[in-house]
């Protein structure tokens, strides 16, 4: 007889420490290059920055050792590496704006958000000792997610920036509640699907050799579809709408193991998106700017100017980039937030972009591996949902910037300037660390 055993999992804390060292080195070297090219390099400042980075990395490492000793060893170094690159890039764009007489301090603000974000991730580890507790808040999370999604539509509170209505103003700052609603929805979907998946997996009519779900079970899917369409039409944001619908669809697929759900859902979304484009001019103009970006008339009307400038930037970067601090990423509007990916493409080249995308792949793979390892159905769905949310968000942004899909207002996780996104994504990391800690922990009986 043969037996199949899991390979004994080491906690990997030492490996994590080594990787954190690399991540810190990347953050410091990136900032050093940026400062040098802005003729701003001071050794004292750099030493302080290096010391601070090391302290932060050690802080997270010790917090994980204390509160989640079996957590995944690769997650935090990958995230910190991305974050360090993002901070350097935003600082670099601050310098570029300053050279053109526009005083900004995005870099300082973003550093603050990063520190708060890391604090939140550690707080999640301290407060949520067992992720299964979150299942109790299934419907609370659903309601909170819905409120977060709809808040920007409240008159007087919602802000419309560049056509999209996905911000609210709180204490004089703009906040993107959709980023937090994302987490609430993942918790809600996980709790809802783990209880109802048996009904949703029931077989219905067979069409073209594939079993489709029963029409009467379509209710939840139709509801989420309607919500996604409303977001696209009234908040004028395809990104949030696609993110919300995609998260639900992927979790539904994982819960029921039925590919037919994915086909039905993608069909519904495609029909809805095309119809919205035909019926509403503001949605339609976004599609035009995407499909005909390089037309002279579309470009000169300003509709696709940002997108095309981003493409030019990435093209001038080539294979190895111009080098950090040596390009002109500031020629693209919103180079520090929506188009940070194009800025990085210009200065780090394809080689750098591929490394960055691989870091995202590693983060998402860790989430999926955690989902496989964890024994509890709710945990599986939660980890899948969080991982997929990160993957889809990256796809939507990078796809938008590289003209694979229409451009949207979502932010690149950990890289782009934006407080809401930074905080929300560090909370996601905290939750993933907690779930992976419980997934990799040896059985209590054996211990």
């Amino acid at each position: 007889m043969a037996t199949v055993t899991d390979v004994k999992v080491r906690t990997g804390r030492r490996g994590e420490l080594g990787l954190l060292g690399l991540a810190v080195a990347i953050a410091v070297l990136a900032r050093g290059l940026v400062d040098y090219h802005a003729a701003y390099l001071e050794i004292d400042q750099m030493l302080i920055y290096a010391g601070a980075c090391t302290a932060v990395a050690l802080g997270i490492h010790l917090a994980i050792r204390r509160w989640a000793p079996y957590a995944d060893p690769v997650l935090v170094p990958a995230v910190l590496g991305l974050n360090g690159i993002g901070l350097a890039m935003i600082r670099r764009i601050d310098f570029a704006y300053a050279a053109r007489g526009r005083e900004t301090d995005f870099g300082q603000i973003q550093t603050m958000w990063t520190l708060i974000g890391i604090g939140l991730a550690i707080a999640v580890l301290v407060i949520v000792r067992d992720y299964r507790v979150l299942r109790r808040f299934t419907y609370t999370a659903g309601v909170l997610g819905l409120i977060g999604l709809l808040l920007p539509l409240v008159p007087g509170l919602g802000l419309q920036i560049n056509g999209a209505r996905i911000w609210i103003s709180v204490f004089g700052r703009s906040l993107q509640p959709g980023e937090f609603a994302k987490i609430a929805f993942v918790i809600f979907f996980a709790g809802y699907l783990v209880s109802n998946r048996d009904t949703l997996a029931l077989a219905g009519p067979k069409v073209l050799g594939m079993r489709f779900p029963r029409p009467r079970d379509m209710g939840p899917l139709a509801l989420v579809w309607a919500a996604a369409m409303l977001v696209q039409i009234y908040e004028r944001d395809l990104g949030t709408s696609l993110l919300l619908f995609g998260i639900f669809l992927s979790m539904l697929y994982v819960a029921t193991e039925r590919i037919s759900w994915v086909i039905v859902g993608m069909g519904m979304f495609a029909v809805g998106a095309v119809a919205a484009g035909a019926l509403f001019s503001h949605v339609g103009s976004r599609y035009t700017a995407w499909l005909h970006a390089l037309d002279a008339s579309v470009y000169s009307s300003g509709a696709s100017e940002q997108l095309v400038r981003g493409l030019f930037g990435m093209a001038s970067g080539g294979l190895f980039g111009t080098g950090l601090g040596e390009g002109r990423p500031d020629l693209v509007p919103y180079a520090e937030s929506d188009f940070i990916f194009a800025s990085l493409g210009e200065e780090l080249g394809l080689t750098g972009l591929m490394a960055i995308l691989t870091l995202y792949v590693i983060i998402v793979q860790r989430a999926m591996r955690t989902a496989i390892g964890v024994r509890h159905g709710f945990g599986k769905l939660l980890a899948t949902g969080l991982g997929f949310a990160m993957a889809l968000q990256t796809f939507i942004v990078v796809g938008g910037v590289t003209r694979v899909i229409p451009l949207t207002g979502l932010t690149t996780p950990f890289l782009a300037y934006g407080g809401s996104s930074m905080l929300a994504n560090w909370i996601v990391v905290g939750l993933l660390l907690r779930i992976s800690d419980q997934a990799r922990r040896p059985d209590e009986v054996a211990a």
Binding site: T3, D6, V7, R10, A30, L324, T351, R369
Partner: protein, 173 residues
């Protein structure tokens, strides 16, 4: 700084970026392969059992009889093995000795099958004289020998297929 060192630093940054990516993958290497399959039978436990028996009765050397290590009895001329040829445990073999083999879902069975169409104690395969018999233990979905449902104990010959749920078993020498 000279232009050369700046270029080196610029490329060095990309190298460092990939160093992080590749060493992260290296840390994950173990878990990309997932699980490890170990053949039992040649494990430490069965060898210990062989040794214990060797102290009691002087059995002929394994090389002389040509019987695989791990067989429960090396003296019984009918010794062979039960091979799982279909179902979730496909590829598993159980050496046959003198003890009956209990098949089912219960963890106390000799061959534990994780199949919804199996009963907890589904069937028994036991030696009688120099033959092996199959007996259904009142299973819900029945045990089949070839196309025949097994009601009373029937002899199981070499190469005949026993089916229960999605699993099929075969007696081999």
């Amino acid at each position: 700084m000279s232009q050369l060192s700046i270029t080196l630093l610029r490329m060095g940054f990309l190298v460092l970026l990939w160093a992080l990516v590749l060493s992260a993958i290296a840390v994950l290497r173990a878990d990309l392969y997932g699980t490890r399959v170990t053949a039992r039978g040649r494990g430490r436990e069965s060898r210990k059992r062989d040794d214990a028996r060797a102290e009691k009765t002087a059995s002929p050397s394994r090389a002389a009889t040509g019987v695989r290590a791990g067989a429960i009895s090396t003296k019984d001329p009918s010794a062979g093995h039960l091979a799982v040829t279909g179902g979730p445990l496909k590829g598993t073999t159980i050496p046959l000795g003198t003890a009956p083999v209990l098949v089912g879902r219960a963890s106390t069975c000799t061959l534990v099958i994780d199949d919804d169409y199996c009963s907890a104690r589904h069937c028994r395969i036991y030696p009688e004289g120099d033959r092996w018999m199959v007996e259904d233990l009142g299973s819900t979905n029945g045990t089949y020998l070839g196309n025949q449902k097994v009601t009373d104990p029937v002899p199981l010959r070499e190469g005949e297929v026993v089916r229960l749920g999605a699993t099929s078993l075969e007696l081999r020498r």
